[in-house]
């Protein structure tokens, strides 16, 4: 089956996929918030980590648990859980990042049935030399908790295999991203997003097989569409298919992004080390940071900005759409500086605030106008 079609199918039927996986393997599923969760350890224990995402519908069930100030994505996630969409999940966990998903997780622990839950105290000061040893300790406790829950030990061999599978997945997705640098990328932004999001939902072994096939086939894949303006999209969690497809219908293509549902999720690999847990800890401290962790300890600048500019150059980006989930503080704090930084470096930006549903009329006009701004010359003699 065509890998991209398969990704779309899993993206649409994610819960069926997880349920089937359980039946097939007889093993357990852990639903998790936030990509700072060290999935390798769960995977080493034979567990399928499934990222909790929204359903892109107004999160009405969340109202008694989270008031309107919390980000719509987190409320949507909780609302999905309260609807019973994740009832197949045997466990639920979160890694410390921003406060919004923590609200959803806190309510989830209380109101949604599960066998096991865990709050992993991911350090905030990832840039401090003290973070890595601290996280290593956290991972040891976390591993212990998983072992006790499942009643079996996680060996170094298990960890090595998991790390291997995860690094392969990262490596292969980067291979696919290489092809997005081409003048006419053989894969659209919407398709690439589906690929990355499904890697957060699927068994990575299976995902890797699809990726291997994809890396082989892509170079010969012809899309009967114009690439148009090469766009980058940067900001909060974003699995908003409707939006990406809408934009890519307007004679433009997303060639790269910085999202935890995109490149930020897989950009860095685990560099092996005798102490496996330390190796994993290092990866999660060194990865491209979420804005909530992009500071200090003694340097106020943001490491993420040069990385984004670098991507923009490598992928020949003509404009950046900067988005945030409504109320997403970490991004709200960075966005004014980020836009200034990109524009100083010759990359026009346009800002959009996301809700769970896309007000197509309002967004379309803004995006069209932004694209016209980029290609304005053709309207002048």
């Amino acid at each position: 089956m065509d890998p991209i079609e398969r990704f779309k199918e899993v993206y649409e039927k994610r819960h069926e996929y997880a349920k089937d996986w359980k039946v097939k393997t007889g093993r357990k599923v852990v639903a998790y918030f936030c990509t700072y969760v060290p999935e390798e350890i769960l995977y080493a224990a034979g567990v399928l980590p499934v990222r909790i995402l929204g359903g892109h519908e107004p999160p009405h069930l969340a109202a008694p648990h989270m008031f309107d100030m919390w980000c719509p994505f987190s409320r949507d996630c909780l609302s999905q859980g309260l609807q019973g969409k994740y009832n197949y999940a045997d466990g639920v966990m979160i890694a410390q990042s921003c406060l919004h998903p923590r609200q959803a997780f806190g309510a989830w622990q209380i109101h949604i049935p599960h066998e096991w839950d865990y709050f992993l105290c991911m350090p905030n000061a990832v840039r401090s030399p003290r973070a890595k040893p601290f996280l290593r300790g956290e991972l040891a406790e976390f591993k212990k908790s998983v072992e006790e829950w499942l009643g079996k030990a996680i060996t170094d061999k298990d960890l090595d295999q998991a790390i291997e599978v995860y690094n392969t997945n990262r490596y292969l997705m980067k291979q696919v991203y290489e092809l997005r640098k081409l003048d006419n990328p053989p894969i659209t932004g919407a398709e690439a997003m589906t690929m990355v999001v499904t890697s957060q939902l699927m068994d990575k072994r299976e995902h890797n097989e699809l990726l291997q096939q994809l890396v082989k086939e892509l170079p010969n894949r012809k899309l009967d569409r114009e690439t148009g303006i090469r766009l980058m999209i940067v900001g909060s969690e974003d699995d908003d298919h409707t939006f990406l497809e809408m934009v890519e219908k307007l004679n433009s293509t997303f060639v790269i992004e910085d999202h935890c549902t995109g490149s930020r999720y897989f950009w860095n690999e685990v560099i092996s080390e005798k102490d496996r847990l330390q190796a994993i800890a290092n990866r999660y401290c060194d990865r491209v940071p979420c804005p909530s962790k992009d500071w200090g300890p003694d340097d106020p600048s943001r490491l993420r900005f040069p990385h984004i500019l670098n991507l923009a150059k490598e992928y020949k980006v003509q404009g950046a759409i900067v988005i945030q989930q409504k109320f997403c503080d970490p991004h709200e704090i960075d966005i004014p500086s980020l836009r200034e930084f990109l524009e100083k470096n010759g990359i026009p930006t346009h800002f959009l605030e996301f809700e769970v549903t896309v007000p197509v009329g309002q967004f379309r006009i803004r995006v069209e106008a932004f694209l016209e701004q980029i290609r304005a010359e053709e309207l002048f003699v």
Binding site: C98, P123, A125, D298, D299, S337, R339
Partner: protein, 438 residues
């Protein structure tokens, strides 16, 4: 006014609290008149450490400063709009936007130009703390910056590993402080600061504990102006002495049955910061004989607490009470860290709704409340965590709960008339109370 049930009297320490606060903001602004340094930090940033530098150091802690801006509706809106003009979102922490606006407008809430800090020494617990001063430094064209992480886990999971994580960062911080200021950390000062910090935090908790008495000696509106000193400079002798004095006076009030609200007939707790520009809504409740006893926020923003063998919430012991003598720098840093991580229950909600619910229901029964009135605060995510879950938990425990939405420091998000309407409805209908005073 009609005869009241209990005798009431104003707090004697009130004036002193006012004076210390005014002096604090004056000293900071005037620091450069002498050889003193200005440090920018937060209410929780272990002031015992930077205050141990040689010579005079005057702090400006960001949250109380944001609150001072918030208490002045006109200046506050100007600051908010200045921040929004730079593209900062309207829903960000209201203190933070006010603080940035104050920089952008180059205006100090207490008169004159914005007094730029010489260095930043800050801790990070909510999404905003480290980022707050990251932006401040940016707006100022760069200020030496150090920020350490205290998000090491909930009070009931604090062990050596968690303490080491923070202490090691503090050593890095000391290196930073000495490098940037060219001054040394004086261990005698540090040790004394830590003793003081224990006294301030523990005696505040003891004063709050006395509010379990009927009638309550303190009301939340006054408590706000009392705990604030702990958010300014809890490590100073002046502040530690103030809390000793407050504790003595509160004991005296209890002994003589002096009530905060003469007609106390309904005891409530709140949550999160109040809308600072509208504290009169708390006075309005008193017309019904309602006394607000405090909240997890008011008790533990600076107060340190622990859970005793019977599962009760009790004040953290001072070092003297624990019979501990601080040996050296390392000992001081460890004790300071241990107190903050184990004692500051205000941080517990960062790790889960159940933790907040457990603490709040303990407060509800130990402080003998009749109901809760929660300010659903759009201005601060840190303190507004799990507020709806807290409502469900209290309701489950049988307490009527009213919520009213607002913002601690953005008056554009608070509708006073509507709030009073809701209070009338809740107090007359749900609580079956009648107004006692006109």
């Amino acid at each position: 006014m009609a005869e009241t049930k209990y005798q009431t009297a104003g707090l004697k320490v009130w004036r002193k609290a006012k004076e210390i606060r005014e002096k604090y903001y004056k000293d900071y602004a005037g620091a450069h008149d002498g050889r003193a340094l200005r440090w920018g930090g937060g209410a929780w940033s272990f002031d015992a450490v930077p205050q141990a530098l040689e010579g005079e150091i005057y702090p400006l802690t960001e949250e109380p400063y944001g609150a001072s801006i918030g208490a002045n509706p006109v200046f506050q809106v100007r600051c908010q709009e200045a921040a929004e003009g730079k593209g900062y979102a309207r829903d960000l922490c209201a203190y933070m936007r006010g603080y940035w606006g104050s920089i952008i407008r180059d205006q100090y809430a207490f008169g004159g130009k914005w007094p730029k800090p010489d260095f930043i020494f800050q801790n990070h617990i909510c999404c905003s703390h480290a980022k707050w001063l990251q932006v401040a430094s940016e707006l100022e064209g760069g200020i030496p910056y150090f920020c350490f992480d205290v998000g090491a886990g909930p009070y009931n999971k604090i062990g050596e590993r968690q303490i080491n994580y923070v202490v090691e960062q503090l050593y890095d911080g000391i290196e930073f402080l000495e490098k940037t200021t060219g001054r040394k950390i004086v261990d005698e000062k540090l040790i004394q600061n830590v003793y003081n910090t224990y006294i301030s935090n523990s005696l505040w908790s003891k004063s709050c504990e006395l509010n379990q008495n009927i009638p309550a000696p303190l009301d939340e509106k006054s408590m706000y102006s009392l705990y604030v000193l702990g958010t300014l400079q809890k490590s100073s002798k002046e502040v530690a002495d103030f809390y000793k004095e407050l504790y003595e006076e509160t004991k005296e009030r209890v002994a003589n049955k002096i009530a905060a609200v003469g007609n106390e007939q309904c005891r409530i707790i709140g949550d999160s910061q109040p809308p600072w520009a509208f504290l009169r809504v708390l006075r309005y409740m008193e017309k019904y004989g309602v006394v607000s006893l405090g909240s997890l926020y008011t008790f533990s923003l600076i107060g340190w607490w622990r859970i005793d063998g019977k599962g009760n919430l009790v004040p953290y012991k001072t070092l003297e009470e624990q019979g501990i003598k601080i040996k050296d720098r390392d000992h001081a840093l460890r004790l300071l860290t241990e107190g903050e991580l184990k004692g500051k229950l205000m941080w517990a909600p960062f790790y889960g709704a159940s933790l907040k619910n457990e603490l709040v229901t303990k407060i509800a029964s130990q402080w003998k409340i009749d109901a809760a009135m929660i300010h659903v605060n759009r201005g601060c995510e840190g303190t507004a965590q799990h507020q709806m879950e807290m409502k469900l938990a209290l309701a489950k425990a049988g307490f009527p709960v009213m919520t009213y939405e607002g913002n601690m420091a953005d008056e554009r998000e608070f509708d006073e008339a509507r709030t009073l309407r809701l209070m009338d409805l809740f107090l007359t209908e749900t609580m079956g109370l009648k107004k006692l005073e006109w």
